[in-house]
Amino acid sequence: MPDDEPFDLAGCLDRVRQRDQQAARELVEHLHPLVIRIARSHLPRRVSEEDLAQEIFLKMFTRLDQYQGAVPFTHWVSRIAVTTCIDHLRAQKRRPELRWADLSETEAQVLDSAITSENDVSPDDALEARELVQKLLDQLKPEDRLVIQYLDLEQKTIAEISALTGWNPTLVKVRAFRARRKLQRFYRDLTESERS
């Protein structure tokens, strides 16, 4: 399929419903960036992003007959992806406590500079900063982690998060408030573990 042609989602869905495997492949290719972004940002330990993406797609195909068109198809798929990730994260049960000693040398330097320096973190340390942020978010409950991920990292609005998750805006705000408080506590514990 040429890249410059707009993707005919409705037509593709009709063909998938008629069991056209080529259309199913096109649908997977089209939705892969959306699904892999969600899978990567809520990836449980010991699960590969590819396995998680495959599980999300299989759920999408299984439930395709239930899609009524009430919400945009991408939102519907996002909700399946989010629910699948949250289920996996819940199954982990234990969230490891992050200590200063668990950080790599570069991550420790980046965190130290974020805490002590007035300047922003160097753009060269962006990858380490992303790893560090993910490690901090790993300590939160799956739902809290998701809200902070969307708000702070992806800079989505409350309305957008509500559409992507299916949670009402008040619930998103409450979860964001609680998540920030917990994150502050983890952050304080982490910096204190450096001093001790």
């Binding site: 199913a24 892969h32 965190l111 942020v133 702070d152």
Partner: protein
């Protein structure tokens, strides 16, 4: 904004600047997923599964109805069993033999 918030803001701002990773599907991924999806959505097996579920539900209803229709007979049989079982008390017999 407290110092923790400030350093968190700096960290996430840096994390946002991290280069985007490749988001295209790996080679063969879409083919594998489409094949798996259609093997799962085999209409023959889904009809069989649906009919099996219906059969199980009907069987449950029939079982409950049979118990309800014969409730008095079952209750009577149980009470008869209790009455006939009472004299067959081996421990009581052993105690009686001892006294």
């Amino acid at each position: 904004m407290n110092p923790a918030d400030k350093s968190w803001e700096k960290l996430v701002a840096a994390a946002r600047r991290a280069p985007a990773r490749d988001e295209s599907a790996p080679f063969g991924f879409s083919t594998r997923v489409a094949a798996l999806a259609f093997s799962q959505r085999d209409p023959g097996s889904s009809i069989f599964a649906r009919l099996s579920l219906r059969a199980a539900a009907v069987a449950c209803i029939l079982a409950v109805a049979a118990v309800a229709a014969n409730f008095s007979a079952i209750k009577g049989a149980l009470s008869d069993d209790a009455q006939t079982a009472a004299p067959d008390d081996p421990i009581g017999e052993v105690v009686d033999m001892g006294s």
